[in-house]
Point group: C2
Chain length 235, copies 2
Amino acid sequence: MNLLLLEDGDFVAEGRAVVRDRRLRHLHEVHRAESGDSLRVGRLGGPMGEGRLLRLEAHEAELEIRLDQPPPAKLPLTLLLALPRPKMLKRVLQTVAAMGVPRLVLLNSYRVEKSFWQTPFLEPQAIREQLILGLEQARDTALPDVLVEKRFKPFVEDRLPALAADTLGLLGHPGAYPACPRAVEGPVTLAIGPEGGWIPYEVEKLQAAGLAPVQLGERILRVETAVTALLARLF
Amino acid sequence: MNLLLLEDGDFVAEGRAVVRDRRLRHLHEVHRAESGDSLRVGRLGGPMGEGRLLRLEAHEAELEIRLDQPPPAKLPLTLLLALPRPKMLKRVLQTVAAMGVPRLVLLNSYRVEKSFWQTPFLEPQAIREQLILGLEQARDTALPDVLVEKRFKPFVEDRLPALAADTLGLLGHPGAYPACPRAVEGPVTLAIGPEGGWIPYEVEKLQAAGLAPVQLGERILRVETAVTALLARLF
């Protein structure tokens, strides 16, 4: 937790916040903070700044808050991701938030196991928890939008063309395709497939929606690693 | 497991191998393989190719092996990493092997907790296990060399200058430094610090050994994510 992230309900007055829960434990156990210490804070959906610990007790901490900096810029990106397996989903959500992705679409694909859609980690509250861990890690305050699209065809046919319009549309796919471009200018729509890759029908549909296949070398990377590698190369 | 990785002891004759253990379970439970199926195989430290399942039984599988391709090229890189916490170490070892790092130095730093050096995951056999998982993921057969350097100063003063000679030496560090370069030519020596970063004394020593500080933006990434992002940008 490199940023103490405050929500509206934590504020007890202008410039005063009280935290309990997981964040309080973190202050005690990891930061080993003491009254008087200053730490980096941010307001969810708002600015960042500094908090000074007025009181740090077993059951709550009170801070004086000064918020005067904007959060870091987001990447100009819409990321489409075939729904990963639940354990990977948690990590990917953290990574996506930490890397500054503003919009994530979790999409079905033929090679996504049906059971993955049953995971409790897809509940809005569970998604939000993982995103917040990513924001706290990277020092950001702006939650990414996450869309859950359980039906591939209607999303890709009816909605993706508008989302991808006026962006550089890319589709990560192994094969004899151009290498993923580097340091691009302007907004990007990037689709990353499931373990085992998109099936040919899906590649066709994504191409028809405006995404061009690119590859990332012959090594097969886990989804989380592929996401990070593609974003680091593109931006 | 995108590659069935065979060791010398698995070969029962020229072009014939028998597997048991974790790999056999994987064939049954994940690949749901059947006799006659073909799959990607490699020989640890050797070439890659195809294996045909002659027999797949509950207690063992026998394969006919044809090895005729070289493994993918490694990155021209020596990676120095402040020893991460044990849970992260396991994942980082997999990532390092999957991304094609040929040589990893796990190094002490002031901000590495002393307890991290006690983890059983630093045993050579435990390191090897994680590296093999990374090779199986990425389809590679060549184990990276891993050096464990528990003393920062003697390593950085006495051995690093020779290791880093004739390479582009880089030191990932937050601050007002140039951005990490992209798509470099030639060999690189890259040092990545612990959570919280290198302390100023360590930065000085690493600079004196030939490494120049570079930064990766204002977001603070987990070690595993930082490793992937830096490698994807450099190569």
